[in-house]
C-alpha cells in the first residue's frame, strides 16, 4: 500500500508533469481560465493517460519495437477521440470551451511521454498507477492555477461570486499574460521549495555524519 502512495505521490509532487517535468504547458495555460474548465480538462487528460497507459502496457510485448510509436499514437488518439465524442455529446458547453485542446491531448507530451517512458516498460498495475499519479499531478497544477486565475481575474470560484460587487477583479489574470505570469510564479515557488528541501537534506546528512563521528569517537 505504501508503494501505491509513493507511486501516486511521484506523479503528484516529486515528478509533477507540469512543474517539474515541464510538459503539457499548452493545455495547462489555455484552459485554466476557470476552475470548471480546468477540472474538465484534467479529467479528460487523466482518462486518456490512464487508459492508454493500461492498454499500452498490456500490449507491450505484442508490439514490435520499431512500430512502437505509431501504435502508441493510434492507441492514444483512439482514446482522445472517444473523450472528444463523449464530451461533445454529453457536455457540449465544456467541449466548446476546451475547444482544440481536447484533440491536442494526442500530442500532449505528458501522455506520449509517459507511454514511452513508463508504460512501455512496466506492468499493467504500475502503469495504471503511473497514469493516475501523473493525471492527478496535472489536475492539481491546473486546478491551483485556475483557482488563482479565476479568483483574481474574475472574483469567482467555480463560478460563484466571492467578494461581492464592489470588488473589481484584475482581469489580466484570466488573459494570456496572467496565465504565463502565474505559472511562472508557481514554477519559481516549486523550485524554491525543492532547493530548500535539498539544502535541508544536505544539512541533515552532514549532521548525521557528524553525530556518527562523535559517537565513534565516544566509543
Amino acid at each position: 500500500m505504501n508503494n501505491v502512495f509513493k507511486k501516486l505521490f511521484n506523479g503528484i509532487w516529486t515528478n509533477n508533469p507540469v512543474l517539474v517535468l515541464l510538459l503539457g504547458f499548452c493545455p495547462t495555460l489555455a484552459v485554466s481560465t476557470t476552475v470548471n474548465n480546468a477540472v474538465g480538462m484534467a479529467f479528460a487528460a487523466t482518462f486518456v493517460l490512464v487508459s492508454s497507459n493500461i492498454v499500452i502496457s498490456s500490449i507491450r510485448k505484442f508490439v514490435p519495437n520499431k512500430m512502437r510509436i505509431p501504435v502508441f499514437i493510434i492507441v492514444i488518439a483512439t482514446f482522445v477521440t472517444i473523450v472528444d465524442l463523449v464530451l461533445y455529446g454529453y457536455l457540449p458547453k465544456l467541449h466548446k470551451s476546451l475547444g482544440v485542446f481536447i484533440p491536442l491531448i494526442v500530442v500532449n507530451c505528458i501522455v506520449l511521454g509517459r507511454a514511452e517512458a513508463f508504460a512501455s516498460k512496466n506492468n499493467v498495475f504500475d502503469s495504471f498507477l503511473d497514469g493516475l499519479g501523473m493525471g492527478l499531478g496535472f489536475l492539481l497544477t491546473i486546478v491551483v492555477l485556475a483557482t488563482i486565475r479565476e479568483v483574481i481575474g474574475n472574483g469567482t470560484f467555480f463560478g460563484k461570486n466571492l467578494f461581492g460587487l464592489s470588488y473589481s477583479p484584475a482581469i489580466v489574470a484570466i488573459l494570456p499574460p496572467g496565465a504565463f505570469l502565474t505559472i511562472g510564479l508557481l514554477l519559481g515557488g516549486m523550485n524554491f521549495i525543492n532547493i530548500k528541501n535539498k539544502e535541508r537534506e544536505k544539512m541533515r546528512k552532514k549532521l548525521e555524519k557528524e553525530s556518527l563521528k562523535t559517537q565513534k569517537e565516544v566509543k
Binding site: 515541464l22 499548452c26 477521440t81 500530442v107 494570456p176 496565465a179 511562472g184 519559481g188 523550485n191
Partner: protein, 193 residues
C-alpha cells in the same frame, strides 16, 4: 485580398499562436536558449506547418467529409503529420542536404509539437478555403518564428542577469513570455477578424 491581409496580421501578431493562443509552449520554452537554434526551430515550424495544414485540409475536404468520417479527424491528422515529417526528413536529406543540416535536428521535435496539429484543426474549424489555408498556416508559422526568435534574444541576455536562484531557467522564461504577451496586447484591434 483584404481578407488575406487580415488573416495574416491577425495570426502573426494579434492572435499570436504562442503568446495568445497557447500552442507550442513546450518547444517555445525548450528550444529558446540560443537565438540560432530558435531560428532553426522557427523555420522548421513554418515549413512543416504549411505542408501539414495543407495536406490535412485536402484530406478533410476530399476524404473525411465525403465519407462522413469527420470523427476520425484527430487520428488521421496526427498520422499524416508524423508521416509527413518522416518524408520531409528523407527527401530533404537527399534533395537539400544543406537545408537538412540546418533544420534536420528540429524535425523530429516537431511531430509532437502541438502547434502543427493545433493549426491543422483550427484551420478546419475556421472554414478557410485553399488560399486562406496557405496564408493562415504560413503567417501563423511566422508568428511562431517571431515569438520564439525575440524570446530567445531576451533569454540570451538573461543568461547574464542576476536572476534569483528559484527563477533561473524555465520560470523566468515563462514570466518573460507573459510580459511579451502583455506587450503584444498592443496589437489588439489592428485588424478585426
Amino acid at each position: 485580398m483584404l481578407k488575406l491581409l487580415i488573416i495574416a496580421i491577425d495570426s502573426m501578431l494579434i492572435s499570436n499562436i504562442v503568446l495568445m493562443r497557447f500552442l507550442g509552449i513546450c518547444p517555445y520554452i525548450g528550444v529558446s536558449k540560443k537565438q540560432e537554434t530558435a531560428a532553426g526551430m522557427g523555420f522548421a515550424v513554418i515549413f512543416v506547418m504549411v505542408m501539414a495544414t495543407l495536406i490535412s485540409y485536402l484530406l478533410q475536404i476530399y476524404v473525411l467529409n465525403p465519407l462522413k468520417l469527420e470523427y476520425l479527424q484527430t487520428i488521421v491528422f496526427i498520422f499524416v503529420i508524423a508521416a509527413l515529417v518522416q518524408i520531409v526528413e528523407i527527401t530533404m536529406k537527399k534533395i537539400a542536404p544543406t537545408l537538412f543540416d540546418a533544420l534536420g535536428i528540429y524535425l523530429p521535435l516537431i511531430t509532437t509539437n502541438c502547434t502543427i496539429l493545433g493549426v491543422a484543426i483550427l484551420n478546419i474549424q475556421k472554414n478557410y478555403n485553399l488560399i486562406e489555408t496557405i496564408v493562415f498556416s504560413l503567417s501563423t508559422g511566422i508568428g511562431y518564428f517571431i515569438a520564439i526568435y525575440l524570446f530567445a534574444g531576451i533569454r540570451e541576455k538573461l543568461d547574464w542577469a542576476d536572476v534569483p536562484e528559484p527563477f533561473k531557467g524555465p520560470a523566468i522564461g515563462i514570466i518573460t513570455a507573459g510580459l511579451m504577451s502583455l506587450a503584444f496586447f498592443g496589437f489588439t484591434g489592428l485588424v478585426k477578424m
